[in-house]
Protein backbone atom coordinates (compact mmCIF):
# COMPACT_ATOMS: atom_id res chain seq x y z
CA UNK A 1 0.00 0.00 0.00
CA UNK A 2 2.77 2.42 0.87
CA UNK A 3 5.36 1.08 -1.44
CA UNK A 4 7.31 3.51 -3.50
CA UNK A 5 7.08 1.45 -6.65
CA UNK A 6 6.82 4.50 -8.92
CA UNK A 7 10.15 5.73 -7.58
CA UNK A 8 11.96 2.83 -9.18
CA UNK A 9 13.10 3.81 -12.62
CA UNK A 10 15.82 5.47 -14.60
CA UNK A 11 13.93 7.96 -16.73
CA UNK A 12 14.80 11.65 -17.10
CA UNK A 13 12.22 12.52 -14.47
CA UNK A 14 13.59 9.94 -12.01
CA UNK A 15 17.04 11.45 -12.24
CA UNK A 16 15.96 15.06 -12.12
CA UNK A 17 17.20 17.04 -9.12
CA UNK A 18 14.47 16.66 -6.45
CA UNK A 19 14.75 20.33 -5.48
CA UNK A 20 13.72 21.35 -8.99
CA UNK A 21 10.85 18.89 -8.86
CA UNK A 22 9.52 20.19 -5.56
CA UNK A 23 9.66 23.83 -6.63
CA UNK A 24 8.06 23.18 -10.03
CA UNK A 25 5.32 20.95 -8.59
CA UNK A 26 4.50 23.48 -5.89
CA UNK A 27 4.35 26.45 -8.29
CA UNK A 28 2.31 24.48 -10.82
CA UNK A 29 -0.20 23.47 -8.13
CA UNK A 30 -0.69 27.07 -6.98
CA UNK A 31 -1.06 28.51 -10.47
CA UNK A 32 -3.51 25.84 -11.59
CA UNK A 33 -5.54 26.05 -8.40
CA UNK A 34 -5.94 29.83 -8.77
CA UNK A 35 -6.46 30.02 -12.53
CA UNK A 36 -9.90 31.16 -13.59
CA UNK A 37 -10.02 30.33 -17.31
CA UNK A 38 -10.90 26.99 -18.78
CA UNK A 39 -8.47 27.54 -21.64
CA UNK A 40 -5.52 27.87 -19.26
CA UNK A 41 -6.37 24.44 -17.91
CA UNK A 42 -5.90 23.02 -21.39
CA UNK A 43 -2.44 24.56 -21.47
CA UNK A 44 -1.85 23.11 -18.03
CA UNK A 45 -2.85 19.69 -19.31
CA UNK A 46 -0.16 19.95 -21.95
CA UNK A 47 2.47 20.04 -19.22
CA UNK A 48 1.12 16.88 -17.60
CA UNK A 49 1.26 15.13 -20.96
CA UNK A 50 4.86 16.28 -21.36
CA UNK A 51 5.72 14.88 -17.90
CA UNK A 52 4.15 11.56 -18.84
CA UNK A 53 6.56 11.33 -21.75
CA UNK A 54 9.53 12.19 -19.50
CA UNK A 55 8.59 9.77 -16.72
CA UNK A 56 8.25 6.73 -18.96
CA UNK A 57 5.86 5.14 -16.52
CA UNK A 58 2.89 3.04 -17.46
CA UNK A 59 0.07 5.63 -17.55
CA UNK A 60 -2.28 3.12 -15.95
CA UNK A 61 -0.20 2.89 -12.78
CA UNK A 62 -0.06 6.66 -12.43
CA UNK A 63 -3.76 7.16 -13.10
CA UNK A 64 -4.70 4.50 -10.59
CA UNK A 65 -3.09 6.62 -7.87
CA UNK A 66 -4.91 9.71 -9.06
CA UNK A 67 -8.20 7.82 -9.20
CA UNK A 68 -8.18 7.23 -5.45
CA UNK A 69 -8.43 10.95 -4.80
CA UNK A 70 -11.36 11.22 -7.21
CA UNK A 71 -13.58 9.38 -4.75
CA UNK A 72 -13.31 12.43 -2.53
CA UNK A 73 -14.29 14.96 -5.18
CA UNK A 74 -16.90 12.72 -6.80
CA UNK A 75 -19.62 13.82 -4.41
CA UNK A 76 -18.77 17.46 -4.93
CA UNK A 77 -18.82 17.16 -8.69
CA UNK A 78 -22.19 15.40 -8.65
CA UNK A 79 -23.90 17.75 -6.20
CA UNK A 80 -22.47 21.07 -7.35
CA UNK A 81 -24.25 21.44 -10.75
CA UNK A 82 -27.61 21.01 -9.03
CA UNK A 83 -27.06 23.31 -6.11
CA UNK A 84 -25.19 26.26 -7.63
CA UNK A 85 -27.47 29.18 -8.56
CA UNK A 86 -27.47 30.23 -12.22
CA UNK A 87 -29.08 29.71 -15.61
CA UNK A 88 -31.12 26.51 -15.58
CA UNK A 89 -30.19 24.14 -18.38
CA UNK A 90 -32.19 21.11 -17.45
CA UNK A 91 -34.82 20.19 -14.89
CA UNK A 92 -35.67 16.82 -13.43
CA UNK A 93 -38.46 17.07 -10.89
CA UNK A 94 -37.28 19.30 -8.05
CA UNK A 95 -33.66 19.24 -9.29
CA UNK A 96 -32.34 21.72 -11.80
CA UNK A 97 -28.96 21.68 -13.41
CA UNK A 98 -27.36 25.09 -13.85
CA UNK A 99 -24.81 26.14 -16.43
CA UNK A 100 -22.63 27.93 -13.88
CA UNK A 101 -22.73 24.96 -11.56
CA UNK A 102 -21.67 22.56 -14.32
CA UNK A 103 -18.75 24.79 -15.32
CA UNK A 104 -17.72 25.18 -11.70
CA UNK A 105 -17.78 21.43 -11.18
CA UNK A 106 -15.79 20.90 -14.35
CA UNK A 107 -13.21 23.41 -13.08
CA UNK A 108 -12.81 21.59 -9.78
CA UNK A 109 -12.63 18.22 -11.47
CA UNK A 110 -10.00 19.28 -14.00
CA UNK A 111 -7.90 21.30 -11.58
CA UNK A 112 -7.68 18.66 -8.91
CA UNK A 113 -6.83 15.94 -11.39
CA UNK A 114 -4.22 18.03 -13.17
CA UNK A 115 -2.53 18.99 -9.92
CA UNK A 116 -2.60 15.46 -8.59
CA UNK A 117 -1.24 13.91 -11.75
CA UNK A 118 1.53 16.48 -11.84
CA UNK A 119 2.38 15.79 -8.19
CA UNK A 120 2.38 12.04 -8.67
CA UNK A 121 4.59 12.31 -11.74
CA UNK A 122 7.04 14.76 -10.25
CA UNK A 123 7.22 13.65 -6.63
CA UNK A 124 6.50 9.91 -6.72
CA UNK A 125 9.41 9.46 -9.07
CA UNK A 126 11.70 10.18 -6.11
CA UNK A 127 11.77 8.29 -2.83
CA UNK A 128 10.21 10.06 0.14
CA UNK A 129 13.59 10.24 1.78
CA UNK A 130 15.03 12.11 -1.20
CA UNK A 131 12.10 14.51 -1.15
CA UNK A 132 12.70 15.04 2.57
CA UNK A 133 16.34 15.83 1.84
CA UNK A 134 15.32 18.21 -0.91
CA UNK A 135 12.98 20.02 1.49
CA UNK A 136 15.88 20.32 3.91
CA UNK A 137 17.97 21.97 1.22
CA UNK A 138 15.11 24.30 0.31
CA UNK A 139 15.20 25.49 3.94
CA UNK A 140 11.78 24.17 4.83
CA UNK A 141 11.42 24.10 8.63
CA UNK A 142 13.22 21.11 10.14
CA UNK A 143 10.25 20.10 12.24
CA UNK A 144 7.98 20.04 9.21
CA UNK A 145 10.39 17.88 7.23
CA UNK A 146 10.73 15.40 10.09
CA UNK A 147 6.97 15.33 10.48
CA UNK A 148 6.47 14.51 6.81
CA UNK A 149 9.19 11.92 6.74
CA UNK A 150 8.21 10.08 9.91
CA UNK A 151 4.52 10.15 9.02
CA UNK A 152 5.34 8.32 5.85
CA UNK A 153 7.78 5.91 7.44
CA UNK A 154 5.49 4.96 10.30
CA UNK A 155 2.21 4.90 8.42
CA UNK A 156 3.70 1.77 6.97
CA UNK A 157 4.40 0.29 10.40
CA UNK A 158 1.02 1.29 11.80
CA UNK A 159 -0.70 -0.15 8.75
CA UNK A 160 1.01 -3.47 9.38
CA UNK A 161 0.03 -3.31 13.04
CA UNK A 162 -3.55 -2.68 11.94
CA UNK A 163 -3.53 -5.68 9.64
CA UNK A 164 -2.20 -7.86 12.45
CA UNK A 165 -4.89 -6.71 14.88
CA UNK A 166 -7.60 -7.03 12.23
CA UNK A 167 -6.50 -10.59 11.49
CA UNK A 168 -6.56 -11.42 15.19
CA UNK A 169 -10.06 -9.99 15.44
CA UNK A 170 -11.30 -11.95 12.44
CA UNK A 171 -9.71 -15.17 13.69
CA UNK A 172 -11.96 -14.92 16.68
CA UNK A 173 -15.04 -14.83 14.50
CA UNK A 174 -15.68 -11.10 14.25
CA UNK A 175 -18.08 -10.02 11.50
CA UNK A 176 -18.76 -6.28 11.22
CA UNK A 177 -22.45 -5.47 11.67
CA UNK A 178 -24.43 -2.39 12.50
CA UNK A 179 -24.49 -2.86 16.23
CA UNK A 180 -22.87 -1.68 19.40
CA UNK A 181 -20.51 -4.64 19.54
CA UNK A 182 -19.03 -3.70 16.16
CA UNK A 183 -18.57 -0.04 17.09
CA UNK A 184 -16.99 -1.02 20.37
CA UNK A 185 -14.60 -3.41 18.66
CA UNK A 186 -13.53 -0.72 16.18
CA UNK A 187 -13.08 1.75 19.00
CA UNK A 188 -10.83 -0.72 20.83
CA UNK A 189 -8.91 -1.33 17.63
CA UNK A 190 -8.27 2.37 17.06
CA UNK A 191 -7.32 3.06 20.68
CA UNK A 192 -4.97 0.11 20.74
CA UNK A 193 -3.36 1.34 17.51
CA UNK A 194 -2.93 4.81 19.03
CA UNK A 195 -1.26 3.50 22.17
CA UNK A 196 0.94 1.13 20.23
CA UNK A 197 2.12 3.82 17.84
CA UNK A 198 2.81 6.17 20.72
CA UNK A 199 4.91 3.50 22.41
CA UNK A 200 6.71 2.78 19.20
CA UNK A 201 7.49 6.41 18.51
CA UNK A 202 9.03 6.61 21.95
CA UNK A 203 11.20 3.55 21.31
CA UNK A 204 12.26 4.88 17.93
CA UNK A 205 13.26 8.18 19.51
CA UNK A 206 15.28 6.33 22.15
CA UNK A 207 17.02 4.29 19.46
CA UNK A 208 17.92 7.54 17.70
CA UNK A 209 19.31 9.00 20.92
CA UNK A 210 21.48 5.91 21.25
CA UNK A 211 23.06 6.77 17.95
CA UNK A 212 23.89 10.31 18.90
CA UNK A 213 20.80 12.09 17.54
CA UNK A 214 20.70 15.76 18.55
CA UNK A 215 17.71 16.97 16.55
CA UNK A 216 19.35 17.49 13.18
CA UNK A 217 18.89 15.17 10.24
CA UNK A 218 22.25 14.68 8.65
CA UNK A 219 21.91 14.10 4.92
CA UNK A 220 24.13 11.38 3.57
CA UNK A 221 23.75 11.87 -0.17
CA UNK A 222 24.07 15.32 -1.62
CA UNK A 223 22.49 16.18 -4.93
CA UNK A 224 24.29 18.23 -7.46
CA UNK A 225 22.49 20.54 -9.83
CA UNK A 226 23.49 19.49 -13.32
CA UNK A 227 23.07 21.04 -16.73
CA UNK A 228 19.93 19.10 -17.52
CA UNK A 229 18.41 20.09 -14.17
CA UNK A 230 19.05 23.76 -14.89
CA UNK A 231 17.64 23.43 -18.41
CA UNK A 232 14.50 21.77 -17.10
CA UNK A 233 14.12 24.41 -14.39
CA UNK A 234 14.52 27.20 -16.93
CA UNK A 235 12.02 25.63 -19.35
CA UNK A 236 9.55 25.04 -16.56
CA UNK A 237 9.94 28.64 -15.36
CA UNK A 238 9.12 30.03 -18.83
CA UNK A 239 6.19 27.69 -19.15
CA UNK A 240 4.81 28.62 -15.71
CA UNK A 241 5.03 32.34 -16.58
CA UNK A 242 3.16 31.63 -19.77
CA UNK A 243 0.55 29.74 -17.74
CA UNK A 244 0.15 32.69 -15.35
CA UNK A 245 -0.53 35.01 -18.31
CA UNK A 246 -3.34 32.75 -19.47
CA UNK A 247 -4.69 31.99 -16.03
CA UNK A 248 -5.77 35.45 -14.92
Amino acid sequence: MFEESLAEGRSFLHQLDPRVKVVVAFSYAIIVALSSHLLSLIWAGLFVGFLFVLAQLEPRRVLRQVLVANYFILLLVIVLPFTYPGKVLYSVGPLSLTKEGAIYALHIFLKSNLILTCLVLLLSTSSVFTIAHALHHLHVSEKLVQLIFFSFRYVHVIHREYQKLMAAIKLRGFVPRTNLHTYKTYAYLVSSLLIKSYDRSERVYKAMLCRGFKGVFPTYKHFKMQRKDKLFALGAAFYLIFLILWAF
Binding site: S127, V128, F129, F150, R153, H156, V157, R200, R203, V204, K206, A207, M208, L209, C210, R211, G212, F213, K214, P218, Y220, K221, H222
Partner: protein
Protein backbone atom coordinates in the same frame (compact mmCIF):
# COMPACT_ATOMS: atom_id res chain seq x y z
CA UNK B 1 38.65 -1.51 34.80
CA UNK B 2 35.09 -1.00 35.90
CA UNK B 3 32.91 0.42 33.12
CA UNK B 4 29.38 0.32 34.47
CA UNK B 5 28.39 0.68 38.08
CA UNK B 6 24.81 0.97 39.28
CA UNK B 7 24.51 1.84 42.96
CA UNK B 8 21.30 1.52 44.98
CA UNK B 9 19.14 2.30 42.00
CA UNK B 10 15.52 3.00 42.72
CA UNK B 11 13.21 2.98 39.74
CA UNK B 12 9.48 2.87 39.05
CA UNK B 13 7.51 3.44 35.87
CA UNK B 14 4.96 6.22 36.38
CA UNK B 15 1.87 4.97 38.15
CA UNK B 16 3.28 1.56 38.91
CA UNK B 17 4.85 0.00 41.97
CA UNK B 18 8.66 0.22 42.12
CA UNK B 19 10.51 -2.17 39.87
CA UNK B 20 13.84 -1.61 41.63
CA UNK B 21 14.21 -0.44 45.23
CA UNK B 22 17.97 -0.77 45.69
CA UNK B 23 19.53 -2.38 42.67
CA UNK B 24 23.28 -2.66 42.38
CA UNK B 25 25.30 -3.97 39.50
CA UNK B 26 28.84 -3.79 38.23
CA UNK B 27 30.39 -4.55 34.86
CA UNK B 28 34.08 -4.40 33.92
CA UNK B 29 36.01 -4.21 30.69
CA UNK B 30 36.64 -7.59 29.09
CA UNK B 31 33.57 -9.20 30.59
CA UNK B 32 30.99 -11.00 28.48
CA UNK B 33 27.98 -11.80 30.54
CA UNK B 34 24.56 -13.17 29.76
CA UNK B 35 21.49 -12.20 31.74
CA UNK B 36 18.44 -14.42 31.99
CA UNK B 37 15.35 -13.85 34.07
CA UNK B 38 11.58 -14.08 34.21
CA UNK B 39 9.39 -11.79 32.10
CA UNK B 40 8.93 -8.44 33.75
CA UNK B 41 12.01 -8.73 35.95
CA UNK B 42 13.28 -5.47 34.43
CA UNK B 43 15.99 -6.69 32.09
CA UNK B 44 15.24 -4.15 29.35
CA UNK B 45 14.83 -1.43 31.99
CA UNK B 46 18.25 -2.34 33.37
CA UNK B 47 19.91 -1.88 29.98
CA UNK B 48 18.10 1.40 29.34
CA UNK B 49 19.19 2.76 32.72
CA UNK B 50 22.81 2.12 31.76
CA UNK B 51 22.65 4.42 28.74
CA UNK B 52 20.37 7.02 30.29
CA UNK B 53 17.25 6.32 28.27
CA UNK B 54 15.57 5.93 31.62
CA UNK B 55 16.64 7.88 34.68
CA UNK B 56 16.52 6.40 38.18
CA UNK B 57 14.52 8.14 40.91
CA UNK B 58 17.36 7.55 43.35
CA UNK B 59 20.81 5.99 43.35
CA UNK B 60 23.86 6.48 41.21
CA UNK B 61 24.77 5.54 37.66
CA UNK B 62 28.54 5.60 37.28
CA UNK B 63 29.85 4.97 33.80
CA UNK B 64 33.53 5.08 32.86
CA UNK B 65 34.28 6.25 36.37
CA UNK B 66 32.03 9.30 36.31
CA UNK B 67 28.57 9.76 37.80
CA UNK B 68 26.03 10.41 35.01
CA UNK B 69 22.90 12.38 35.60
CA UNK B 70 21.59 14.45 32.70
CA UNK B 71 21.39 14.10 28.92
CA UNK B 72 24.75 15.75 28.34
CA UNK B 73 26.49 13.19 30.58
CA UNK B 74 24.94 10.37 28.63
CA UNK B 75 25.72 11.71 25.16
CA UNK B 76 29.28 10.49 25.54
CA UNK B 77 28.12 7.26 27.17
CA UNK B 78 25.87 6.38 24.23
CA UNK B 79 28.74 6.79 21.84
CA UNK B 80 30.91 4.37 23.79
CA UNK B 81 28.19 1.93 24.85
CA UNK B 82 26.03 0.67 21.99
CA UNK B 83 22.54 -0.66 22.66
CA UNK B 84 20.85 -3.09 20.29
CA UNK B 85 17.08 -2.87 20.72
CA UNK B 86 14.76 -5.79 21.17
CA UNK B 87 12.78 -4.98 18.02
CA UNK B 88 14.88 -3.97 14.99
CA UNK B 89 11.91 -2.06 13.58
CA UNK B 90 12.39 0.45 16.39
CA UNK B 91 15.92 1.04 15.30
CA UNK B 92 15.68 1.16 11.52
CA UNK B 93 14.06 4.27 10.15
CA UNK B 94 16.06 5.19 7.07
CA UNK B 95 14.95 3.90 3.66
CA UNK B 96 18.24 2.31 2.69
CA UNK B 97 20.77 0.29 4.61
CA UNK B 98 23.63 2.67 3.86
CA UNK B 99 21.72 5.70 5.12
CA UNK B 100 20.78 3.75 8.23
CA UNK B 101 24.42 3.06 9.03
CA UNK B 102 25.50 6.56 8.01
CA UNK B 103 23.03 8.14 10.45
CA UNK B 104 25.06 7.39 13.58
CA UNK B 105 28.34 8.19 11.87
CA UNK B 106 27.11 11.57 10.65
CA UNK B 107 25.84 12.34 14.16
CA UNK B 108 29.37 11.72 15.38
CA UNK B 109 30.64 14.21 12.82
CA UNK B 110 32.63 11.76 10.72
CA UNK B 111 33.44 13.28 7.30
CA UNK B 112 31.22 12.09 4.43
CA UNK B 113 34.23 11.00 2.42
CA UNK B 114 35.07 8.22 4.87
CA UNK B 115 31.52 6.88 5.07
CA UNK B 116 31.35 4.53 2.06
CA UNK B 117 34.45 2.71 3.28
CA UNK B 118 33.22 2.45 6.87
CA UNK B 119 29.80 1.25 5.76
CA UNK B 120 31.32 -1.41 3.57
CA UNK B 121 33.58 -2.57 6.38
CA UNK B 122 30.82 -2.92 8.95
CA UNK B 123 28.51 -4.68 6.50
CA UNK B 124 31.13 -7.28 5.75
CA UNK B 125 31.64 -7.68 9.50
CA UNK B 126 28.02 -8.82 9.86
CA UNK B 127 28.10 -10.78 6.62
CA UNK B 128 25.85 -8.51 4.57
CA UNK B 129 28.23 -7.52 1.79
CA UNK B 130 26.60 -5.48 -0.97
CA UNK B 131 23.51 -4.57 1.06
CA UNK B 132 24.18 -0.81 0.86
CA UNK B 133 21.30 0.10 -1.45
CA UNK B 134 18.75 -2.35 -0.07
CA UNK B 135 15.50 -0.92 1.27
CA UNK B 136 15.37 -1.48 5.05
CA UNK B 137 11.69 -2.22 5.44
CA UNK B 138 11.77 -4.86 2.75
CA UNK B 139 14.46 -6.90 4.51
CA UNK B 140 13.71 -10.17 6.29
CA UNK B 141 13.57 -10.24 10.10
CA UNK B 142 17.05 -11.72 10.36
CA UNK B 143 18.55 -9.22 7.94
CA UNK B 144 16.90 -6.35 9.80
CA UNK B 145 18.47 -7.59 13.02
CA UNK B 146 21.92 -7.72 11.43
CA UNK B 147 21.56 -4.27 9.86
CA UNK B 148 20.54 -2.88 13.26
CA UNK B 149 23.64 -4.50 14.75
CA UNK B 150 25.79 -3.07 11.97
CA UNK B 151 24.41 0.42 12.59
CA UNK B 152 25.43 0.12 16.25
CA UNK B 153 28.83 -1.43 15.52
CA UNK B 154 29.62 1.28 12.98
CA UNK B 155 29.92 3.76 15.82
CA UNK B 156 32.77 1.68 17.26
CA UNK B 157 31.42 1.24 20.77
CA UNK B 158 33.61 -0.18 23.52
CA UNK B 159 30.73 -2.04 25.10
CA UNK B 160 27.68 -3.62 23.51
CA UNK B 161 24.32 -4.14 25.22
CA UNK B 162 22.13 -6.65 23.40
CA UNK B 163 18.45 -6.96 24.29
CA UNK B 164 17.16 -10.37 23.24
CA UNK B 165 19.09 -10.44 19.99
CA UNK B 166 17.89 -13.90 18.90
CA UNK B 167 14.18 -13.21 19.23
CA UNK B 168 13.50 -13.14 15.49
CA UNK B 169 16.39 -15.24 14.22
CA UNK B 170 16.23 -18.72 12.71
CA UNK B 171 18.90 -21.26 13.73
CA UNK B 172 21.13 -20.32 10.80
CA UNK B 173 21.04 -16.61 11.56
CA UNK B 174 21.52 -17.30 15.27
CA UNK B 175 24.67 -19.20 14.37
CA UNK B 176 25.76 -16.21 12.29
CA UNK B 177 25.26 -13.91 15.24
CA UNK B 178 27.28 -16.27 17.46
CA UNK B 179 30.16 -16.10 15.00
CA UNK B 180 29.98 -12.33 14.71
CA UNK B 181 29.98 -11.83 18.48
CA UNK B 182 32.84 -14.25 19.01
CA UNK B 183 34.91 -12.46 16.41
CA UNK B 184 34.44 -9.03 18.03
CA UNK B 185 36.91 -7.82 20.60
CA UNK B 186 34.23 -6.09 22.65
CA UNK B 187 32.85 -6.41 26.14
CA UNK B 188 29.13 -7.05 26.15
CA UNK B 189 26.02 -7.83 28.12
CA UNK B 190 23.44 -10.03 26.45
CA UNK B 191 19.89 -10.32 27.72
CA UNK B 192 18.22 -13.45 26.37
CA UNK B 193 15.94 -16.36 27.16
CA UNK B 194 18.03 -18.64 24.97
CA UNK B 195 20.41 -20.45 27.31
CA UNK B 196 22.03 -22.35 24.49
CA UNK B 197 22.89 -19.11 22.70
CA UNK B 198 24.21 -17.47 25.86
CA UNK B 199 26.49 -20.40 26.56
CA UNK B 200 28.07 -19.93 23.15
CA UNK B 201 28.71 -16.19 23.35
CA UNK B 202 29.27 -15.37 27.02
CA UNK B 203 31.65 -16.45 29.75
CA UNK B 204 29.14 -16.34 32.58
CA UNK B 205 25.35 -16.32 32.82
CA UNK B 206 23.47 -14.53 35.57
CA UNK B 207 19.90 -15.10 36.67
CA UNK B 208 18.18 -11.78 37.37
CA UNK B 209 15.14 -11.82 39.61
CA UNK B 210 13.86 -9.57 42.40
CA UNK B 211 16.72 -7.10 41.82
CA UNK B 212 19.33 -9.75 42.49
CA UNK B 213 21.89 -11.33 40.22
CA UNK B 214 22.81 -14.94 40.92
CA UNK B 215 24.96 -17.33 38.88
CA UNK B 216 22.59 -19.38 36.75
CA UNK B 217 23.98 -22.70 37.97
CA UNK B 218 23.10 -21.77 41.53
CA UNK B 219 19.47 -21.15 40.61
CA UNK B 220 18.68 -23.95 38.17
CA UNK B 221 19.77 -27.42 39.31
Amino acid sequence: MEIIRLKDIQFAYPGRSPLFRALSFSFSAGERIGIMGPNGAGKTTLLQLMVGLLKPQAGEVIIFGRPRRDENDFYEVRRRIGLLFQDPDDQLFCPTVEEEIAFGLLNLGIPRKQLPGLIKEVLSLVGLEGFEKRVTYKLSGGEKRLVALASVLAMRPEVLLLDEPTGDLDPKNTERLVNILNRLSLSYIVVSHDKNFLEKVTSSILWFENERFLPLNAVHR
